[in-house]
Every structure is written in structure tokens, then in C-alpha cells.
Amino acid sequence: MLELREITKRFGDVLANDHVNIRVEPGTIHAIVGENGAGKSTAMRIAYGFYTADSGDILVDGQVRNIQTPHDAIRLGIGMVHQHFMLVETMTVAENIVLGAEPGSAAALDLDRAASEIRALSDEFKLSVDPRAFVGELSVGQQQRVELLKALYRQARLLILDEPTAVLTPQEVEEFFQILRRMREQGKTVVIITHKLSEVLAISDDVTVMRDGRVVGGVKTAETNAAELARMMVGRDVLLRVEKPDARAGDVVLSVRGFSVTVETGHGGVRDVTFEVRAGEIVGVAGVEGNGQTELIEALAGLVAPERVHGRVELEGRDITHAAARTRRESGVAHIPEDRHRRGLLLDFDLAENSILGDHYRPPAVAARAGVLLNTEGIRRRADEMIRAFDVRPANADLPARALSGGNQQKLIIGREFELKPRLLLVAQPTRGVDIGAIEFIHRKLVALRDSGCAVLLVSAELEEVTALADRLLIIHHGRLVGEVDPKTATHEEIGLLMTGGGKQNAE
């Protein structure tokens, strides 16, 4: 049905797809699995005409096709359901479905005809969607079915689903899989992008595993198992090693009890987690991205509206559950955010100005607590020292942060946060988009901070990284802590299974 041949795609310096070959047989459900950033979505977006490949061919029904826009893909019978739904919430289901392929004439939109056609399709696949309802009033699961109908209405024979279950509750997932099976019975072909191995095993006929932009394996689902897939997914050619002495954990610095963070969509967030971080230890949180890590760290840093935060957080015995970000910082909580462009830096500000973000209002940035004038010279001097100590290149405090590479931007943030002499460091994805040299540097710095008696809570989507750095490793899945392992002894398969929600089946 669909075949990608030697597809290569670069985004700037990043090789997102490196000679990717995927073959999807008609009438099957084909899973593409891999970690975040493995290149799964890119490959499928190329097939749908959202991106164009730098080289390689797309074959549909055995013929090489030129797919430049989604329009081309639609014409060839390819539909795609994006991870973030492409639905207009203020319009009805029918309006959303027919948009761009309207029935009736230019002068009159035949919504009645559309509604009956949609109802027929909906019945055929047992989707139970009301064409007259407003999309904004539907549940996420129903919205997803609208997306499916959109593709079906355009007579798609191949449906590409990008992380379709990420937003669904377990009950909805089961329902959704039944719909997919019905589609397969009706002769449709389905490609499902996911990183949840339990789902792969439950639904797919074939699996393609991707890692670092390359296809690392293709197997029949019936002939494989979770352990094998996990190994393929997370395995690395070179194992990352961090030299570190054993932790000498001291007093409890951070204590989190019955902690929940609600999110606007209702799904996701953090659910009732309880844990501690002691002085002088690194506690890692491993999990597939989007399982509550972001909310956990942001809430602990005081960046989530108080009404969404429940439970109790104590810092060295003091309640900081609802404290403001500034108060937390003043009591010694540093934070290296997961998205340095969104949170961590003012890209148009120079490095000196970035070096005081968060501490710009108090000495030494200003002369006294009540001071108003910035001590520009002092800031500059401190920034220069920071740049030297953390090896930020180019070493010029006058450059805007935008001019630096990801690794050097990150080193600046780390320098700034270390300057705080924190009691607790919250750190998320410390080495994302950072070159190898900088990764090692950052890891050494984190271990050094730990050894100086700071408590570190580390979140990373890189399993390699958390296992190498953490002294204790918590596993998060669907916002809950589903296990704790010793990173020195646990295998990647074991952790990978817990991360992907496969732990329970195995334990039983």
C-alpha cells in the first residue's frame, strides 16, 4: 500500500530521517515505534505531504508518487490524524469533516447531505458521532473519532495515526482499538505511530522500530515480544557512562506527599505522587514524555497556577506547596527548565542580562535589597566568570543568547542556576539538543553539585541519561509513579516495560 524508500530529511543540523525504508502492506495495522525524536512522525509527515523529503521515494500502490502537499496525499487516499487535532472547536462535527471537500454547490453548502453521509460512515465503523454536535463540546476520544471520520469522508484507504492513544484514557484506548480492527476488516490500512509497547503488541500486525532517525528493525508482531522491542528502541551502540562515587544521602530536602497537578484538558497531569529527595542524591524520574513529568517539575518550581496544585510539598520542612516562584528561588530551589527557549532564556537579551534572570531584583544584581539601579558592571563581571567557569562559547557576554548553540545556551542556564547555591535543583531534559561534549560537561557538573550536598530531581526522556546519573530511579506513567528501581542493577528492558505501562502484565 505505502512504501518509503531511502527517505532522508534534514532540519538544519539535525538528520531527522536517515535513509528510512518502511513498507506497509495493504489491509494491515502497522506500528511504528521509537523514542521521542526517533523520526517516526517526520517520516509519516513526509508521506502525508506536510514535509517534503530531501531525497528518497514514496510509493503508493507500488508506484512512485510525488506528494508535495496534504492535498496530494488526500487524492491518493492517504489520511492522517495528527497528535494535536486539526479541528475547529467552534464548528460542528459535520462542518469540520466537510471542510475543504464540501458537498453541494459554491452557493449552497449541503450540510444535510453531509450529515447523512457522515452518519452512514459513523454507523459503518460504529463510531457513534453526532454530526450536528459542536466539536468543542466533545470529549477527546470523540474528537479523535471526528478526525477518523474526516479521513474516511475523503475516502482514505490508508490512515496514519500519530500517537493516537496519548490523549485517551485506558477505556477509550480499548474502544479505539476496536474501531481500528473494524477498519482493517473493511479493508483499510492503518499506520499507528506510538511508543507504547503494550499497545503495539495488542493491535498491530507488523512493527517497524526507529531510533535516531534510522529504521533499526522490522518484524511481525506475532514473532516478537516487549523485551525485544524495548531493547531495539532504547539500545545504544555506545553506553553512556558517568563516573560518580556512591551517593552519601543526607537529610530530606524535598518531600512531596499526595501531590497532584490537574491540567486543563482533564487528561494527563500528575496524580497523587509521593516521594522524597535527600541532600546529596540525584533522584531520577524516567518515563515516556507527556506522562506528567513537565507538570511535576513546573509545579514544584511554582510555575503552575495554585488552584491546579493539590497535596503537600515541603522544602526542608517548610510548606512551599503554593509558594510563588520567587519565594522558592529565595529558599534555594533552582530550576533548569526542559524548554530553554520557552522558559529558560530571553533569546534577544545578551548573556549578561540572561545571567541574572530570576535574581535581577536583589544583590548582587542591584546594590541593595531595596536598590533599583542594576549594577551593570558587577553583572557583567559575574557573567564573565560564569561564562568561564561553565565554558560557554563564544565567551562574549554581549552576545544575544540567540547567537549561541543549544549546548552553550544550556551551560549558561546551568551556570546561572548553580550560582544560586541551591538546596534543591529541579532539572528537566538537561541535555536535549546539546552536543556530545557539552553533555559530558553537564553531567559532571550535576554530579559535582550533588556531591556538594544539593538535592537533585532529574527528569529526562533519555533513559540512558537518567540511569547513568540517578542514584534512585522513579518511573512515571500516566502521571503516577509506577515503580522505583535501582539504576545500577535494573535493566533497560525492565525500566522500558514500566515506562510503557507494560510492567503490570509482566508482573502478573
Partner: protein
């Protein structure tokens, strides 16, 4: 009720409708543009373009309908500047609109200075060459037409989608920028009619800055009417009513020597808009992609 008061009432009603007409035309224009996601604070300038062109052309040709058509073309031409700046060059839509407004204070003045040797006005148009009612009819017909176009045609469906969620429209195969061009040009055409009405309907010549804030009131009516045709019309009628009332009460003395301060009546539309925008009276939700240029991720 005496005959005089009935006559007064009728006169007052007619006055309300006449005051509401340019607001309604411009607001409907703004509705198309903003529902497609392009902020149009240039309505004032577009009206001025239409007003000046219609008056000048009517003066030369002697046919107000040709003048009206010319006003429409002028409105579209100036709207095209806004569209190109905002859509092609991703200029800030508010800044571009402000520039258009300033431009259209200047251009008619310079041109009339050169052509009519006046400081910003056109010669008087004889009474028989005025169109006092045609634009009124057009304006009120536009409301059901706009409603139909918006909710019952593929064009309207795409327009709304483009203003709410351009990525979704794009993914469904709709050309986002083309829709936006069409919408902004349409707003220019309608604001052009509004302007033509000012100079060749309500009065008989173009005078400097004659829109005198009506473009902004139209914008206020659009927000007040929650970007919906019928509600917007009601808002225009309300604002037309305050206008008519202010005109009526101008110089009227209360007991003693106190005049009624009409300034407070004039203020009403603006204060109401601020109140509505703050969410005190219902909630006015703008099209979600309003003001954001569509940049396709590649």
C-alpha cells in the same frame, strides 16, 4: 400621542437607521476580515478612501452609482495594501491598519488639493445626484446575506475555519492566505460603500476626515456583536441610536440654562465595548487566529 410626536418619532427612527448605515456597512466588512483572522482597524481609512473617491467620481461623471462603484474599487485597492502588508509580509496587523488610517487622512487631502484646489474637500454634488437610500438598503440586506454566506456556503465555512484554526484548514486542503486576501478585499469593498454613503448619501461632498471615528465605532460594534452578523447589526443600530439621540439633544436646554452634555451619549459605544471586552456582559470571543500571520511550518 399627537401627530407631532409621531412625526418626531418617525424622524428619529429614520435618523437612527441613517446613522447606523455606515457603521453597519463597515462592520460587515470588518466581520469578513476578522472572521478570516486579519485584524482590520483600517476600516476608518478604507471608509475615507471610498468616501473621497465616490464624491470625486460622482462630481465628474454625474452618476452616483458610478461613484459608488468607484468607491468600492478604491476601498478594495487600499485594502489590498493592508492585505499584502499583513499576509505576504507578515506585518503587524494593528500597525499596518494604523498606517492605512493615517495614509487616508493624507491622500484625499493632497489629491483634492491638487485636483479641486481645496484643502481637503470635493465640490458640492447636486441633490439629484445623491444616493440617500441605496446604501441603506444594501447595508440591511447585507446582514442576511452575510449570515448566509458565513454559515451556509463553502466560502463561509472556509473563512471561519481560516480565522479559527488555519492549520486545520490547511491540513484539509484550504489555501489559507488566499481566503484571507479575499476577506480583506471584501472588507475594503464594503467599507468603500460605507464611505460612499457618507459623501454622496448622508452629505453632498467629501470633507476632510469625514468618517470622524465611524470606522472605530464599526469595529466596536463588531466586537459588541461578538463577530456575528445579526448581533453586529443590533449593535450598529444601538450605536446609530446614540448618535441620533446626541444630534437631537445637541443644544437642548434642560430646566434653567443647563444644556444636556451630549459628550456622555457619544461616549456610550466606546464604554460599552470596553465593558463587553472585559467580559462583564456576556463574553465576546474573538476568532482564535485573529492577528496571527499564518506561517507554514516546513
Amino acid at each position: 400621542m399627537s401627530d407631532i410626536s409621531i412625526a418626531t418619532l418617525l424622524f428619529f427612527l429614520a435618523s437612527t437607521v441613517r446613522q447606523a448605515t455606515p457603521l453597519l456597512l463597515a462592520a460587515m466588512g470588518g466581520l469578513y476580515s476578522e472572521r478570516a483572522g486579519v485584524i482590520n482597524i483600517a476600516l476608518e481609512g478604507l471608509m475615507l478612501a471610498g468616501a473621497f473617491t465616490a464624491a470625486a467620481v460622482t462630481h465628474y461623471v454625474g452618476n452616483p452609482f458610478v461613484g459608488l462603484l468607484a468607491g468600492v474599487v478604491a476601498g478594495m485597492a487600499v485594502a489590498a495594501i493592508h492585505a499584502v502588508a499583513c499576509i505576504k509580509f507578515k506585518a503587524d496587523q494593528v500597525v499596518s491598519g494604523t498606517a492605512i488610517n493615517i495614509l487616508m487622512i493624507g491622500v484625499p487631502a493632497v489629491v483634492s488639493g491638487a485636483v479641486f484646489l481645496s484643502s481637503g474637500s470635493t465640490p458640492q454634488i447636486p441633490r439629484e445626484n445623491l444616493i440617500p437610500w441605496t446604501p441603506v438598503v444594501i447595508a440591511f440586506l447585507l446582514v442576511p446575506v452575510t449570515w448566509y454566506v458565513l454559515y451556509r456556503t463553502p466560502f463561509g465555512l472556509r473563512l471561519r475555519a481560516v480565522g479559527e484554526h488555519p492549520e486545520a484548514a490547511d491540513a484539509a486542503g484550504v489555501n489559507v492566505n488566499r481566503m484571507r486576501y479575499a476577506a480583506v478585499l471584501l472588507s475594503g469593498a464594503l467599507a468603500g460603500i460605507a464611505g460612499a454613503y457618507l459623501s454622496t448619501g448622508q452629505s453632498s461632498l467629501f470633507t476632510r476626515n469625514m468618517a470622524s471615528g465611524r470606522g472605530f465605532i464599526a469595529l466596536a460594534a463588531l466586537i459588541f456583536g461578538k463577530w456575528r452578523p445579526v448581533q453586529t447589526m443590533l449593535a450598529c443600530l444601538l450605536f446609530g441610536f446614540t448618535d441620533a439621540l446626541a444630534t437631537q439633544l445637541q443644544g437642548v436646554k434642560l430646566s434653567g440654562d443647563e444644556e444636556i452634555p451630549v459628550q456622555f451619549i457619544h461616549m456610550l459605544p466606546y464604554v460599552l465595548t470596553i465593558v463587553v471586552l472585559a467580559g462583564f456582559v456576556g463574553h465576546s470571543r474573538a476568532p482564535r487566529a485573529l492577528g496571527i500571520p499564518y506561517v507554514k511550518e516546513r
